[in-house]
């Protein structure tokens, strides 16, 4: 019995050694592959952990496609012009299964095994937190597209940048729009995740400082399937407008239950939901008039040299992927474009030079708008649009001059629809 256990410990060690050897072998293989890529000398490789599977796979695909479109368009133009020479762009994606701890190990793997020194971020703030700590410790720049949590930029990191405004700024445009429509009292209802909390806190602070009366504010657990008790309380407060900050399912749920319970609002707005085509499909005519905070629409009057106008960007995207782009894709393309600009400005793909170039980009004008890169890596000045569901379609109704498109605010009561 004891001898057996000795044998087993031996077996255990042999198996472990074998597995470690296999792992090391696999790693060095990856490294070899990539040095051959890098030695092609006219290619710039950029890594991106992405959510190809798991809970964030939908948004992950949009981000993936947004990055890919930039790569394809730049390569079709002959490559990125750096110091008089054109370089092909090679994006390397690795599936993080939507889990932040995978982002940490994948980023580490891409830096140390594959020798990748420039990064675009995975989707969602928690994943960006995880991936950016690795990028920071190896001093390689990462541009985030898919998370505007302020906390990401409050850590004093030097190598993280973003194409997104802070989550807390998402609701500013919606509130500006409501102000012009005579809305005075607002009810805020938000989910308990990082993004929803920051967006809600920013929205409430903006509302209070802009003369709104916040009559109700509450948090509910993410994925809640019944929000009727909250709606009952909101109805008692007689709020003019409901502002929901949560997820797609919860936004749909709130509209359905408001109708069932005959709770009427002059306006309903959500951070997540209305911008997605499934929102209007799911709710039918009940979705009419609902407002959605967005970060980008194809109607916006901006343009740049890579994609052309916002509308041309949308056409290119549809040609490549068969669907209309939403803001996740557009913001991802903008992040990739920022990387291109920084490489051009640095005149090299050296991570430290690109990082310094990013920090010194100042104000840039892209197809998604004009904005300024802040010292902490976040951006400022992007004008956020608002959309409204009209005849089942998302129509841009903010900023001016799109406000002439606003319809039915105040909304008719449910009984008159």
């Amino acid at each position: 019995m004891v001898r057996k256990s000795v044998k087993l410990t031996g077996l255990f060690m042999a198996v472990s050694l074998l597995l470690v050897a296999a792992l090391a072998g696999c790693g060095s293989q990856g490294a070899k592959q990539n040095t051959s890529n890098a030695s092609a000398a006219d290619t710039i490789t950029i890594g991106a952990p992405d959510a190809a599977t798991g809970a964030l796979a939908n948004e992950g695909k949009l981000v993936h496609d947004g990055y890919t479109l930039w790569q394809d368009v730049v390569n079709k133009q002959g490559g990125l012009l750096v110091g008089g020479k054109r370089y092909k762009i090679n994006l390397v994606f690795k599936d993080d299964q939507s889990k932040p701890d995978n982002d940490k190990s994948l980023t580490e793997q891409m830096i140390t095994q594959d020798g990748i020194k420039l990064f675009l971020s995975p989707y969602a703030s928690p994943n960006i937190f995880a991936a950016s700590t690795v990028a920071e410790s190896h001093k390689v720049p990462m541009i985030a597209a898919g998370g505007g949590a302020k906390k990401i930029f409050e850590r004093g990191y030097k190598y993280i940048f973003s194409s997104y405004p802070y989550s807390g700024e998402y609701l500013g445009s919606v509130l500006d729009l409501l102000k012009g429509r005579g809305i005075k009292t607002v009810a805020f209802l938000h989910a308990d995740d990082l993004f929803s909390q920051e967006a809600d806190q920013g929205g409430e602070a903006y509302a209070k400082s802009h003369g709104f009366d916040v009559v109700y504010s509450a948090q509910y657990p993410s994925g809640a399937t019944d929000l009727s008790s909250q709606l009952t309380q909101i109805a008692q407060k007689k709020a003019d407008a409901l502002i929901g900050t949560g997820h797609f399912e919860e936004a749909v749920q709130l509209v359905k239950q408001a109708k069932q319970m005959n709770v009427n609002f002059k306006a309903m707005a959500f951070t997540v939901g209305p911008t997605m085509p499934a929102f209007a499909q799911n709710l039918g005519k009940d979705a009419e008039g609902v407002l959605g905070a967005s970060l980008w629409t194809p109607d916006l009057p901006y343009k740049d040299d890579v994609f052309g106008t916002a509308a041309q960007y949308a056409a290119l995207y549809k040609q490549s992927f068969g669907t209309e782009p939403d803001y996740h894709a557009a913001m991802a393309s903008a992040a990739a474009e920022m990387m291109g600009l920084a490489i051009q400005k640095a005149g090299s793909a050296d991570p430290q030079k690109v990082r310094d170039a990013l920090a010194g980009l100042g104000t840039v004008h892209l197809f998604d708008g004009s904005f300024t890169i802040e010292p902490n890596g976040s951006i400022k000045g992007l004008v956020l649009p608002v959309i409204q569901i009209q005849n089942g379609k998302a129509v841009t109704v903010w900023p001016a001059p799109f406000d002439k498109n606003i319809k039915d605010i105040p909304l008719p009561p449910w009984s008159k629809r």
Binding site: V6, L8, V15, S16, D101
Partner: protein, 312 residues
């Protein structure tokens, strides 16, 4: 003599693990840190699930609570991290002891479901208490070298394995084995089973929380869905069962195999890694129901029911 050989092998394994950072790169250290972490977590699960025979589905609660408490105390109250870590580990141990008293009155599926609920409830409370970071979580300062975390996780794993060895070879271990084999009989000969089970649960909680406090600093950002992910409990359980529940080396072996396979699967096939892992787990359940070490040796504290048919 052969006990000495066993010690020697243990020393060689630990020495090899200690020397690993000298020869390998950051990525391999990162993977090794993850494996050491899961070896420690699986060993902690083994104390309650393997030795005592109470299959907990909620051990991630202790891991998460350790991480969150340490972060909360260091960020909100500006405690030095080491103090915060100690308080978090003690707090989580106490939490395990106190909750063990009612929970361990349940058995089998009822216990499993109650512990699953415990983990979910803990996450819900943390998500709604601002002091504990709420839904936003905590950012902790970034510490330099990944090697520190490797050694810390390795240290906890060694502590967990050595602790398991000592328990198995102690009077306390015999009590746990008695509870696992026939709790009623143990009670009837005067064993205080409630105290013994709760102690095992609390020890499991302490180890889980130790891993949690190191994890928080290692990741430098934690939020409730990540540190209370039920998948972490599943990993602890699957690794222990794969290696051999109730053995000292089983959870470690399981953690090494699954940890390495996960990384290999992820680098070879982007989309099929979960599928491959799932197939592997199914194969183990079907062909090695007692785990790899359990096949050869009904270890002390291992499953004994197989002997029953012989007795008629």
């Amino acid at each position: 003599m052969s006990k000495r050989v066993n010690y020697a092998l243990f020393a060689v394994v630990v020495l090899a693990a200690l020397l690993l950072p000298l020869t390998s790169n950051d990525y391999l250290i990162q993977v090794a840190t993850g494996i050491a972490m899961y070896a420690a977590l699986a060993s902690s699960w083994n104390l309650i699930g393997g030795l005592t025979g109470y299959p907990s589905f909620g051990n991630v609660a202790f891991f998460g609570l350790g991480a969150v408490l340490a972060a909360a105390l260091s960020v909100n109250l500006h405690w030095p991290y080491i103090d915060a870590a100690l308080a978090a580990v003690l707090g989580s141990g106490l939490f395990g002891l106190v909750l063990g008293l009612p929970l361990l009155r349940l058995r089998g599926h009822y216990f499993s479901i109650a512990t699953l609920a415990l983990a979910e409830a803990t996450m819900a409370v943390v998500t709604n208490v601002n002091f504990l970071g709420g839904g936003q979580g905590f950012s902790l300062p970034l510490l330099g070298s990944g090697k520190i975390f490797y050694y810390l996780m390795l240290g906890i794993a060694v502590l967990a394995a050595a602790g398991t060895y000592l328990i198995i070879n102690s009077h306390f271990g015999n009590i746990l084995l008695a509870i696992k084999s026939d709790e009623l009989a143990a009670q009837s000969v005067g064993v205080n089973t409630v105290l013994a089970k709760s102690t095992a649960f609390a020890l499991s909680a302490v180890l889980g929380a130790m891993v949690g406090v190191v994890y928080a600093l290692w990741q430098s950002y934690i939020d409730p869905p990540t540190v209370f992910d039920p998948g972490i409990t599943v990993f602890m359980l699957v690794m222990t069962l794969m290696g051999g529940a109730g053995t000292v080396a089983g959870p470690v072996l399981g953690a090494v195999i699954i940890g390495v396979l996960t990384q290999l699967a992820m680098s070879f096939s982007k989309n099929a890694s979960s599928l491959l892992l799932g197939l592997g787990i199914m194969a183990v359940v079907l062909f090695l129901p007692r785990g790899i070490l359990g096949v050869h040796r009904p270890a002390k504290g291992g499953e004994r029911r197989g002997a029953r048919p012989l007795r008629g």
